[in-house]
């Protein structure tokens, strides 16, 4: 159980799995062809490198006591909540377009994560979206992602 | 009351369908989205922006043409976008290149082919030259092929990717003559020329405009033309066929394609517009500056051409040992 709380051990395991995956994929492609190295040549080598180094990391660091968690899980929770909001925003780009999706993301960050009053949050969200629209769409003629409603 | 909108819709549909000649007059009413699969500055992008600017200058369009870049997948992203997001949209057109035919043949990730779109017109044929360095011992294509035969695999060609025109030319010449030489891929045209001028490779397929300048400077020599007929700028350089090699000509094409499901009136509108466009001075200048050839073809012909082009390419790819996806 303690190993699972050890970031180095877990990330090492994930990277080892990635290394193994790369090696397996690379083996499907030609390693050395008649004209020279094939598409499998390079991936095989960095795949092996990943696997070996990540196992080294697991062995070396798993032996050491895990570093005491400097930041609480609450912080991680906040970061993940932000990330989830970003994902929702990206998902909404297709439906609602950038202006609306970005306003919602801003609203969420300012009001929920930073506990600012709703009025202030709304002002930041609307102001920010308007700023982006004016700068990119109007001034620079760079299209922002548009939603189904056409903006 | 619920069925009312439905009735209205049907009435509207009947009106549209029954309108006959009146509907044959399609005219764009809002800015045209003009798509290209290359990023800003890529071949297709410069082509599209050149057309958009010339259209504006010649005053042929009632609306603006807005160039939109949908990059990715060697054209696959742009093609998928036309099918999935723009079906039936009469205000979207795109630049196609030969890649739009060959890419779906080679890659299973590319889900749509040119058959899923509405080809509108073919505009340009791009000829090419086979070039060697000025101090190379070969004065003709025959001499190069002989040298390649004498030391199989020793000579090198700097080129683009597999399946590109450089590759097709090499493939056809190798199967026709039994000679063989190495094919070294470089991502950018600049690097290909640098490799030839630096003496690191022996031969390349180059655009005539570029070749002209290097010949003038005495860096390069061209030994054959890759085109149906000789180029005005290079009257002394024979085509591959004239040089005595019986290989088919695989042209490099560019043209305009529209999303699937657009009405025939819209196709007709674009056909006529481009028929007028290619006669303009701006376009003629564009062709001669780049040493391109006029390749205008209307939609029906273009569809036939496309089928044939895809078939030939598929056979050449297969013969060259490339895995074909469809």
């Amino acid at each position: 159980m303690r190993l699972l709380r050890n970031g180095d051990f877990v990330s090492g395991a994930v990277l080892a799995a990635l290394g193994a995956f790369i090696i397996m994929e690379a083996r499907q492609w030609e390693y050395l062809g008649p004209d020279g190295p094939g598409p499998g040549f390079f991936p095989l080598w960095y795949g092996i490198g990943l696997l070996v180094l990540s196992i080294m990391l697991m062995v070396v660091h798993a032996r050491q006591a895990p570093a005491p968690a400097s930041r609480g899980m609450g912080g991680t929770g906040r970061a993940f909540a932000t990330w989830a909001a970003l994902v929702v925003c990206v998902a909404l780009l297709k439906v609602l377009g950038f202006i609306v999706a970005f306003s919602l993301l801003t609203l969420f960050i300012v009001q929920v994560l930073y506990r600012q009053p709703f009025g202030k949050a709304l002002a930041v969200a609307v102001g920010g979206a308007a700023g982006f629209y004016l700068l990119f769409d109007v001034a620079l003629n760079v299209a922002l992602p548009a939603g189904m409603l056409g903006f | 009351m619920k069925f009312r909108p439905m009735c209205l819709l049907m009435a509207a549909a009947v009106a549209v369908l029954g309108a006959g000649p009146a509907a044959a007059q399609f005219k764009p009413t809002k800015p045209i989205e003009f798509m290209t699969h290359t990023g800003p500055g890529g071949g297709g992008d410069v082509f599209a922006r050149g057309i958009a600017a010339a259209m504006e200058k010649e005053g042929l369009m009632p609306v603006r043409m807005q160039v939109v870049n949908k990059t990715g997948g060697g054209g696959a992203t742009a093609m998928a976008y036309l099918v999935n997001e723009k079906k039936g949209d009469t205000h979207t057109i795109a630049v196609f290149t030969g890649l739009w035919f060959t890419n779906p043949i080679m890659r299973k990730e590319a889900k749509y082919t040119m058959k899923d779109l509405t080809p509108v017109v073919r505009l340009v044929l791009e000829p090419a030259m086979i070039a060697v360095k000025n101090d190379a011992p070969y004065k003709s294509l025959n001499e190069f092929i002989d040298a390649a035969k004498q030391s199989p695999g020793q000579l090198k060609q700097s080129a683009g990717s597999l399946g590109s025109r450089d590759w097709v030319v090499r493939q056809l010449l190798m199967t026709n003559t039994g000679a063989s030489w190495a094919y070294i891929s470089f991502p950018g045209g600049g690097e290909r020329i640098a490799a030839l001028l630096g003496g690191h490779v022996n031969m390349m397929v180059i655009e005539p405009q570029e070749a002209g300048e290097h010949i003038r400077a005495g860096n390069m020599r061209v030994i054959a033309t890759v085109s149906e007929k000789r180029l005005p700028a290079f009257p002394d350089v024979p085509t591959i066929q004239e040089a005595g090699f019986n290989v088919p000509n695989v042209p490099q094409v560019r043209g305009i394609v529209a999303p699937p499901g657009i009405p025939p009136e819209a196709v007709a509108y674009w056909e006529d517009l481009f028929a007028r466009f290619i006669k303009t001075a701006s376009w003629q200048k564009y062709l001669s500056d780049n040493m391109f050839q006029d390749g205008y073809m209307r939609s029906a012909e273009l569809i036939k051409f496309g089928d044939q082009f895809s078939e030939t390419t598929r056979e050449i790819l297969k013969a060259g040992g490339v895995k074909v996806a469809r």
């Binding site: 970031g7 990330s11 990277l15 290394g19 994929e25 492609w29 190295p37 094939g38 960095y46 795949g47 490198g49 990391l57 070396v60 930041r71 912080g75 991680t76 906040r78 932000t82 990330w83 925003c89 990206v90 780009l93 970005f102 993301l105 801003t106 300012v110 994560l113 930073y114 930041v124 920010g128 990119f136 620079l140 992602p145 | 990023g39 800003p40 500055g41 958009a52 200058k57 990059t71 696959a76 992203t77 890659r107 990730e109 695999g153 090198k156 990717s161 597999l162 399946g163 070294i184 891929s185 950018g188 600049g190 020329i193 001028l197 630096g198 690191h200 570029e210 300048e213 290097h214 490339v322």
Partner: protein, 503 residues
């Protein structure tokens, strides 16, 4: 001195009010789009290209070149202030620039960056003017084995970029190599690691990786603490917003290093400014008397890559103007522009159009001065952005990241990738993996694989081609030396310890 006369003529061309105006428009636009992430000089030049058909080619090229080198000036701004690399080449500027900003020295970092850009940019023009033809020959002698060796030299820099754990740095670098390998293999058309997505056939865009890992990773990390709502310190008073004399003294070598490295690498058609800035940063750290301070906010860590990045422009103009060979996306468009204007780019262009060439060279001197004058007063202004409270600043970074990524490809798929790389950046930060090696691997991986395979195709599988050529052998030797340096240092430390214990 024949070229002096030409240069004077060039200045006569560049200093006409009409051309001065276009030069200013170019460098101003360049600065603006350099500041905005995503939208790069290549895209801007392509968009403006049709407008230039009506202009005379000299004015047009003066303006478009102004966009090109102007964007290099602006690129560092968001790197320093927000950890959002404005251009691919300014990712290295994030390493120390952003750290300086966090310590309230954003103004100093921006100032150093502007000055380094000016010095190196000017150096690049001098180089272009004086040694273009012989350097073009040098560039042509550079072939795939040399590129491979150069990339090895670049990858060896990982030793210098590693933080606490060398294993983690190497792992991050290999993940970077993996991401670089995604997409269609140029040589065989095999699609690698595309997971069935057509969008990945062309690989992952640099902007997506760099903005995701650096900018979003940083913001997500900062979001952990609500107290982060307190702003970064921004000192009051103009004097505190500009670099001190000591800063500039510290950068003396960096200015030179950046200029020379950037210019030389710029001349090579197959390398690019990102590589130039990495290598220049590596050299700076390798010869520094305080290498341990790099990455914590030293001005020379900003000056070297920024300089390299700007000197590269002058270098990249060398093969473009003397041979008609474009070395990068931006120069490729300039080449297309030359054709559209009816100029014939190629080895004889300078000879055919001396006014154009010397007018351009002179305008680049003028443009660099304009940029310095334009950018230095902007420094205090831009530094104010950090006064924004975190709850305004962070959504702003999210927005500019999304727009930046979308403006490159026009594809929503890339915004998903951005979110994914943001998560990766955050995870790396949490688990203490350095992100610089990942970017390094990503930038170099593709070119390195290509160069290796080209070399072996040229030699028909004979590996000695890599060491038989003097230039590649030298660079490979240097790479090995850098890789082994930490071991030597360790051995040395042990020896000193042993001696100390023995006595």
């Amino acid at each position: 001195m024949e070229s002096f006369g030409y240069l004077m003529q060039g200045f006569a061309v560049a200093l006409t009010p009409y051309n001065l105006l276009w030069c200013f428009i170019g460098v101003f636009l360049g600065t603006v789009i350099g500041i905005l992430p995503g939208l790069g000089p290549a895209a801007t030049i392509a968009m403006l290209l049709p407008l230039t058909f009506q202009m005379n080619p000299t004015s047009a090229v003066i303006m478009l070149a102004g966009i090109y080198y102007g964007s290099k000036y602006g690129g560092s701004t968001t790197s320093i202030l927000l950890n959002v690399p404005g251009e691919s080449a300014s990712v290295v500027t994030c390493f120390d620039g952003y750290q300086m900003a966090r310590q309230g020295r954003a103004g100093a970092a921006l100032g150093v960056s502007a000055i380094a850009s000016f010095i190196a940019g000017t150096f690049g023009v001098v180089g272009l003017m004086l040694v273009a033809p012989p350097l073009a020959k040098f560039a042509l002698s550079f072939s795939s084995p040399e590129y491979f060796a150069l990339m090895c030299l670049g990858l060896a820099m990982v030793v210098l970029l590693a933080g606490k754990s060398m294993i983690k740095a190497l792992l991050a670098m290999m993940v970077g190599l993996w991401i670089a390998g995604m997409g269609t293999d140029l040589f065989s058309e095999a699609s690698r690691f595309t997971f069935g997505h057509a969008e990945l056939l062309d690989g992952v865009d640099f902007v997506v990786v760099a903005i995701g890992v650096f900018a979003l990773g940083e913001v997500l990390g900062n979001m952990e603490i609500r107290e982060g709502a307190r702003m970064l310190p921004v000192p009051k008073g103009l004097r505190n917003l500009l670099p001190t004399l000591q800063d500039l003294k510290d950068c003396r070598f960096a200015f030179l290093n950046g200029s020379v490295v950037g210019f030389i690498i710029g001349v090579l058609p197959g390398a690019g400014s990102t590589i130039a800035s990495f290598i220049s940063y590596g050299i700076e750290k390798a010869v520094s008397r305080r290498p341990e301070k790099f990455g914590t906010g030293v001005p020379e860590g900003v000056a070297a890559p920024e300089g390299a990045n700007n000197a590269e422009t002058g270098g990249a103009m060398v093969p473009l103007l003397t041979l008609g060979i474009p070395g990068s996306g931006t120069t490729a468009i300039l080449l297309a522009a030359f054709i559209l204007w009816g100029l014939r780019p190629g080895p004889l262009m300078i000879q055919d159009n001396p006014t154009l060439f010397w007018g351009l060279v002179a305008s680049m001197y003028v443009g660099n001065v304009m940029l310095l004058v334009l950018n230095l007063p902007l420094v205090p202004l831009f530094a104010q952005i950090l006064r924004l409270p975190a709850y305004t600043l962070y959504p702003f970074i999210f927005g500019i990241s999304i727009v930046g990524v979308y403006s490159v490809s026009g594809s929503l798929f890339d915004t998903w990738m951005l979110a994914l790389f943001g998560l990766l950046g955050y995870a790396m930060r949490r688990l203490e993996y350095p992100s610089a090696p990942l970017i390094l691997g990503f930038v170099l991986g593709d070119i390195m694989e290509r160069a290796l395979r080209q070399s072996l195709m040229m030699s028909q599988g004979d590996l000695t081609i890599l060491v038989a050529r003097p230039m590649s052998a030298t660079m490979l030797f240097l790479a090995v030396l850098i890789l082994l340096a930490p071991l030597f240092r360790k051995a040395d430390a042990l020896r000193v310890k042993a001696i100390a214990e023995g006595s």
